[in-house]
Amino acid sequence: MNSKIIIALIIAPLFSVLPTSSFAQLRLNTLSNFRIGELPNSNAAAATTYYSDALLEYRHQFIDFGLRVEGYVSPNMKSLIQPRDNKFQKITQRFAQINWAWGNARIGNLYGLFGRGMIFRAFELPGFIYESSIAQKQHRVIRDVDGAKLAVNWRRFSITTLGGRIVNPLIAPDDKLRNFGNVNGGQFEANLGFGAAVGTAYLQHKTETVESKLSTYFAKWSADALLDRMSLNDFTFDIYSEYATDKGYAKLAALTPKDPHAFYFSATTTWKKTGASFEYKDYKDFNFEINDPPPVIRENQEKLLNRATHVLDAVSEKGAQLELFYSPTWFTRFTANFSRAIDERAVTGRPKFAENYLAFEYTGDKISSKFFVDSGKDELFSEIKRFTTGFLPDYSLMNDATIGLDIQWQYIRKVGNRGAFDYRIYNTYAAFKFQNWRALSLSISMERSNDPDLTDDLQVNKKEYFFNTSIGWRPMPQVNLLLFAGKRRGGTACDHGYCIELLEFNGMEFRVETQW
């Protein structure tokens, strides 16, 4: 609380120097999700649920303030940990923010990022509704801080300081376990000119049992200005490097005598229509649940690949990634990505991760298509071989409508330690999509898998099918309706570098999103 008072005292005199103009905006975003069906792999036989989320934001003159209310109710579903009353209604966010030309101050729920997330990242995953198999309550995936933040940009310098209570985004809002301790810290960054900048950040994270004292140092340089001066305008070159340590509890708990550390480096270069980026990571005992070090793994959006995304183990992982990009014309692109990583913590050897991804995209006025192949392995998850390929063509019809196909196929060989099991898993996904951006969308999809995690058949002969259809309708620009019917496969879903486990669902779902 003291930090908030200090921030208030600092910002109070600034009111007298704020610039003048005048407009106000009121915005309301709502989401309602009705569901009737079952969660096949959970302890609930049937699920009739209703989740709602409303975010009201008002902007008047130089201030924003907002309020978010989330509610959930499931009349006939009892969870293991809350068998009597599985519902909640709660104000999950409220904030006031004052903006001026060279900074802002905020009190209430806030987001933030230090460096590239090595020691701290508070964020919201837009569009995601999470439900754990244990608590069985739907809620937004938000890791925010309830406290105060001051950000100042002055000439070549920028300073951010914040403090407050941080939450675990995967715990329901009414659960006390959601509280994940307190954070206090700040970041300072100085632009040195010639495209170079250096910075440092410090964060203290304290829970009842753990105290981390995280510090990070970063430097970046864009050589573009220099290359321009040398008349090498076709070239660009950038580097970024960050090193972080923890001097708190994690150091005492670390298995090695070295300080817990995280090192990240990236170099990017482009020449005319060609580009390349290289990234390297070396993380040791650096998983704090309040940070998100760059995974140095490509997060693919294709359905089967996204589900198989390697989730970073920041406790012990080293690796590198190289991505090559070539776009001979504005409508054609080639992407090649090679990622390698090794986990040094595992009890059974040093499991390796490898991925080679190659894609070709064509984006024409009428016809667009994407073809990709991907091969690799993720030994930490017993995957000794994985191959995925897909073809995603679409065709533009009259009146802004598009029809498209999405066909993907995947082979995974999973072998257990000392031959405990040897599965050959085949996943097939096919979807037909029709979309008219202004009003209507339709999707019919089918997925087939012999994954024993789904079928319980250790001989991998049995197949599980997932058929579903969804219809989207936008009767007016502010309202979006989505009806889903069928069976949806669960599993890992990754977005903006954050991966969560979605539950399998069989039934009907009706979602209403509005924006006023």
């Binding site: 580009g275 991505e323 776009s327 951006w437």
Partner: protein, 164 residues
């Protein structure tokens, strides 16, 4: 209690006749330099495009938006592409932009905070601002007709500006 008091005090102070620089942001460009919206105010209409490299309709829209930039930049149109790939995919963005031949300003919204500020829910979202920074129109999704409508609006605004 003290927290609530502080919160209310700030609110009251803010209603005390102060005013506003519009929606503001201060983001890093492809050359590691910070750019704010206020750097671009007063020149002409501002077209903001929220996009990501993985978003298919965004990629389809980019060359069209680049064409708008080429066509109307001299008359005062400012086009700003705000990238939403996130901090984890940052090194991949510049090669993409350069090889695609995108000429307009690209800024990184590392934590999607600016996207939230503009109320954008999906990608791509294009927002047309007045030269003073006031939101005139917001379009989500890409369609050739939608972009044509935005162009018509831009032309109107440029003509209005020229006649002033």
């Amino acid at each position: 209690m003290l927290k609530k008091g502080l919160f209310l005090s700030l609110l009251l102070l803010c209603f005390g006749g102060m005013s506003d620089p519009g929606i503001t942001f201060n983001l890093e460009n492809l050359r590691n330099q910070k750019e704010s919206l206020s750097d671009h105010l007063g020149k002409g209409p501002i077209l903001i495009d929220f996009w990501a490299t993985w978003c298919k309709p965004c990629v389809k829209a980019l060359p069209k938006i680049n064409a708008l930039h080429k066509k109307y930049a001299k008359q005062g149109l400012v086009v700003i592409g705000i990238n939403e790939d996130g901090v984890r995919s940052k090194p991949k963005v510049k090669p993409f932009v350069k090889s695609m031949g995108i000429d307009f300003t690209i800024l990184f919204d590392n934590n999607s905070e600016v996207m939230r500020k503009f109320g954008a829910q999906s990608l791509p979202t294009t927002v047309l601002l007045s030269p003073e920074g006031k939101i005139i129109e917001t379009h989500s999704g890409y369609s050739a007709n939608g972009l044509k409508k935005i162009e018509t609006k831009i032309v109107d605004m440029l003509q209005e500006k020229a006649s002033d």
